[in-house]
Amino acid sequence: MNEPLEIINIKLTVNGFIVNAAVAARKHLVDFLREDLGLTGAHLGCEHGICGACTILMNGELVRGCLVLAAQANGSVIETVEGACESGRLNQLVDAFQACNAAQCGFCSPAMLLTAGELLTRSTKPSREEIREQISGNYCRCTGYQAIVNAVEFCFDEVASNE
């Protein structure tokens, strides 16, 4: 328990499933998800913790997966984009991304979806500036960001027009 080890036993919940694994101490959470669990939706764009392509949800909060060791995730609840989409809670945003062409090469998109998805829980429509602030930690090189902002607005407008 208090002995430093190179291989760490971890038990965590990923997308609703309980996972038991033995991981190298140095392996970060994204590599664990991608290589050990085949969840390749989180991408590696830098491993410096800046580009945001590795964003996932840990205990309900957005985190940079490359800046979390798999060992540190012991006992936590992880949701990746695969789990989030499977749950259906982002369906509206997925539709909106498609309608607004808010993804091109798609490399940043899973992370962008999760990050922008946090805004959907708000009761009032965020301003364009607020949306931009929310996604500003996620690099996108293709869209120029505007379509992503449009997609979030689209969700709120859709809800409003359906009421």
């Binding site: 939706g41 996604i135 090189r141």
Partner: protein, 811 residues
Amino acid sequence: MLMLLNFALMKLPQMSKHKHNPLIEMDSSSYIGKSIPRKEIRRLISGQGTYVDDIQGSKIAHVVFVRSPYAHAKILNIDFELAKTYPGVIEIVKESDISQYCQPYQGLLKHLEGMKAVFQTPLAVDKVYWHGHPVIAVVAETRAQAEDAAELVTIDWEELPPVVNEEEALLKDSPLIHPELGSNLCWERKIDCEGIEEIFNSAHTVVEENFTTSRHTHVTLEPRSILADYRSSDNQLIITHSTQVPHMMHWVVSHLFSIPESQVRIIAPDVGGSFGLKIHVYGDEMTAIALAIKLKRPIKFIADRLESFLSDYHSRDHRVWARMAFSEDGKIQAIEMDDLQSMGAFTGYPRGSVNEARQIINLVGGAYDVPHYKARTRVAYQNKSMYGQYRSVGHPVACLVTEGLMDRGAQSLGIDPAKLRQINYIPQNSFPKKLKSGPTIENLSQHEALDRLLEMMGYLDLRSEQKALREKGIYRGIGFASFLEMSNPSSNTYGRGGVSIAAQDASTVRLMPDGTLFCTASINEFGQGAATIAAQIVADVLGVSFDRVRVSLGDTDIAPFGGDNWGSRGTGIGGEAIYQTALALKNNILDIASQLFTLDIAKLGISKSYVIKLGVGTQIISLEDLARIVYFQPEKYPSKKAPELSVTRSYAQKTYDGICTNGIQASYLEVDPEIGEIKLLKHWVVEDCGVAINPLLIDEQIRGGVIQGIGAALYEHCIYNEDGQLTNGNFMDYLVPMAFEMPDIEIAHTCTPTKTSNLGAKGAGEAGVAGASAAVLNAVNDALSVFNVHLNAIPITPQNIIRKLYKFYKE
């Protein structure tokens, strides 16, 4: 040709609201010109994309490179014996261990007079020529182990003086990077103009400036990635490659590795951005392929972000002196320019590293009626990273120079900058127009685009607002940038120079037994929407629902050979090939139907997956039933000539060097002069790409391009020190645009179809980048005009503004 002129359908979606929900099943079979959403977005954003690194397996081994820490050095000794013993290590190689697999290569365009280039090997041999030059490859079971082992490799170096200043590189006494070439000058082109000196001397107004655009790089979010697999039993190479150009790579790999082309397969899976990065040949990627052959194991190489900065091709490194002469009424009399490009240590293979310079000398002043033009461009070798094409190759620099001078001229002459442009555009009645620099422009819509832009912007109101705010000490600027963007290139770019890059594209469309359509083509998808465009064209021509067309791109085993994507050729050339293929298949289908039912083919059409009688609309036979007859019951088909339900056609643009597009951008921003901070308020683009197949996709391409151009204008710079070392090759120190600082971009279009194809589509992918930097630089200068300063370099950092404005910097 003319039957497609229903482009009145080209209703563009509003910026932030969509009046129609495009997710509603498209019932109509008219798709060309419609903003159809991309199917694959759902797959990509939900994490179901397959990028090269997503392909995993225990057989795959990983390669990591030991790279030169110096810009120029001799390799004295290499020792990797200890590294070889590290757990997980499979092999460690230097160049001599792989030279039997991969030939050296030379990036040379033979039709460029005087171009000088040497051969290059994937790994360095006796010398290293740039900071990051790969020397040793370490292969291990995991990337982490390979990196561990790489740290145990020791190399003894003897540093050599690096050549890192492009001006000094061309002086007589400069050390030579490649002594066998006799100089550091890679290529030079001059355009002379007799009598131009007198014109400048006697002109009413002459403006002059030294512009600098700083070296920067593509920064794709997915770094360069390759997975090479060699099947020794049948001498087959299968390479899964994050590439923009699988067909070019197909040819390159086959020839460098001496494996017949039919034995090589390149597959581009989902590609996480390219913008021209992934069209070049990289020594580290070639090494990965050599290792796959040598070790008979699949080898994966993923460039991490640090090595991306060091080893990706760089771009846009220019110093341009230019001047423009005007008459009193503002007509351009002459332009003279001298461009010096700083490239890398070797010419890029196979595209060379001089196309940027080529485009710059071709296009400075190009939008305007310029009676006299004198120019020179030189490209100098440097001990820096390899250099080559980045989206909108050369155009942004040509635009920055031209439009910067136009604004200077407007200021000196006291003429409104929009007006000055209007009076100088190439007159509409002079197309096609051959520029003094060589290219011929088919047709443009510059006056119309400008009018549209001024209206969209509310230009006069903005000027009033600017004036009112200036009195309150708030400094806003408006910057225009008219731009040309060449697209749909001919073989003049490469083929004529002996370079094996295709100038034609081909497509195959096949009617399946169930009446759906399968389409493949020699263009590729990397987020811009090529697959959607293809499906739209096929669905439109063949009268089927968009959902009944599947498109497969990027696999050289499936797609016919062709030119891939670069130079904004995908829709204009690839799309035309697809269009002609679909038309040919339609004709075959109607012919079959006319034979089966003894009907006049001229009276038949296809709608909603049925062959119909035109006019009346009676359904004759479903496509499925027709296909089933052809495939399963050919005895029912009367004619002796076998019916063909899988058709291949090709298309090449041979009329012009390239099909020129035009556009104009405007930037509205606010400068806080005390702290040099720029706030981007709004950006507009009016662009003409001829027939727009999918306005939504075009607009989003433009937006992405504008933001990249803004990145170049404000943030991006590969900073080399005096020793030739890249000092900021990481995401902490190399800045790219983030969402918070970026403006909304409003876009409109004018439409001047090209007559060189049935579709009439010109290219659009690069237009956003072409004018954005110039628009921003001009806007900053407009904002600061009251202070009587001019910025002439990008990126415009706060320090650059402060240096211009504050006395403590003026020595």
